[in-house]
């Protein structure tokens, strides 16, 4: 009966190691999300340290020479990341350049984890909700800093009785941001898990490369870009003159 069901489908978060304490009455585990995230963070840190050393060495030289291979790549990446933030925020870009660049590179590397056989950390709602909440606090911190009390009276703005609807739309911002990222990455993870789990062995070679290209690389890059873009749009909306 189950001709196609050869392996078992594995796209859920695995509990790897039970830590010895309880939080809110439930056991705390080390999961695949933690492991994948630690790996991406270590890889990114290594890259950043290498880039920092290369830039410092180039700055120390007395004569101006043309940049070598690695430094060229670093300059290209920095230019592209700066381009994202200046495209989204215009004159306010300088203050948010560091955060947006870090956010983009972090989400991008977490999304494309699936290619290297890890379970993408952004397919865990706990991760994306945290990213959405960071955006939420940034929006309102900058709004209060810019408009002081006007930030709160803006909730009553068109008509006073629209206050509840305005509050709901503010609360929905981090939810929709995080659900968008989670849903996209999770759908790719489920799709590839089903393919690897349910297809006959013959189809597990070669064909998944195309699926990985679409779901991990294309979708992951687009979603990282969209997350950064929407973060900038929401912040820009509050601090616009």
């Amino acid at each position: 009966m189950f001709i196609f069901a050869e392996g078992d489908t594995s796209y859920m978060i695995k509990l790897l190691y039970k830590l010895g304490y309880k939080l809110f009455g439930s056991d705390v585990y080390l999961t695949t999300t933690h492991v994948a995230m630690i790996i991406t963070t270590v890889v990114l840190l290594g890259f950043f340290i290498a880039a920092n050393i290369a830039i410092k060495r180039a700055l120390k030289q007395d004569t101006v020479t043309k940049p070598g291979g690695f430094l060229n790549v670093v300059e290209l990446i920095v230019e592209k990341l700066d381009g994202i933030s200046s495209e989204g925020m215009g004159s306010h870009a300088n203050k948010f350049r560091n955060y947006i660049g870090t956010l983009f590179i972090f989400i991008l590397f977490n999304n494309i984890c699936g290619i290297f056989g890890l379970r993408a950390p952004t397919a865990d709602y706990g991760v994306t909700l945290c990213l959405g909440l960071i955006t939420f606090f940034l929006i309102h911190y900058n709004g209060i800093k810019k408009n002081k009390a006007g930030h709160f009276t803006a909730l009553f703005k068109p008509l006073p009785f629209l206050f509840p609807i305005n509050v709901i739309s503010e609360v929905a911002t981090p939810l929709s941001l995080s659900l968008r990222l989670f849903g996209n990455v999770m759908s790719g993870t489920v799709m590839l898990g089903l393919w690897y789990g349910l297809m006959p062995v013959v189809f597990r070679f070669g064909i998944p490369a195309a699926l990985h290209c679409y779901f991990d690389l294309f979708s992951g890059a687009i979603q990282a870009y969209v997350f950064c873009m929407l973060t900038m749009v929401y912040i820009e909306d509050k601090i616009a003159d």
């Binding site: 929709s176 659900l179 968008r180 989670f182 849903g183 759908s187 489920v190 687009i222 969209v226």
Partner: protein, 83 residues
């Protein structure tokens, strides 16, 4: 067939029905892509800006479909009706 089985079967049907939510974003994204193609045809110089605007708009339009997907995943794996 116990009551639990019935709930699981109905959850599966509900998850399938929730994925019908994908129709709306499909239509919306196709419309955005068509308009972007027309815009590029009219003004090929602005291709980069048009493409990034289109992708941003499509990603926002996709959200409602992803809500349907989230409902389906919750129905299938969290099984809230069995609690």
């Amino acid at each position: 067939m116990t009551g639990e089985d019935l709930i699981l079967a109905c959850s599966a049907i509900g998850a399938g029905l929730a994925c019908i939510a994908g129709i709306g974003p499909g239509v919306g994204q196709g419309y955005a892509a068509g308009q972007a193609a027309a815009a590029v045809g009219r003004n090929p110089g602005a291709k980069g800006t048009i493409t990034s605007t289109m992708l941003l708009g499509q990603a926002v339009a996709e959200t409602t479909g992803l809500y349907g997907l989230a409902v389906a995943i919750i129905l299938l794996f969290v099984k809230p009706l069995l609690w």
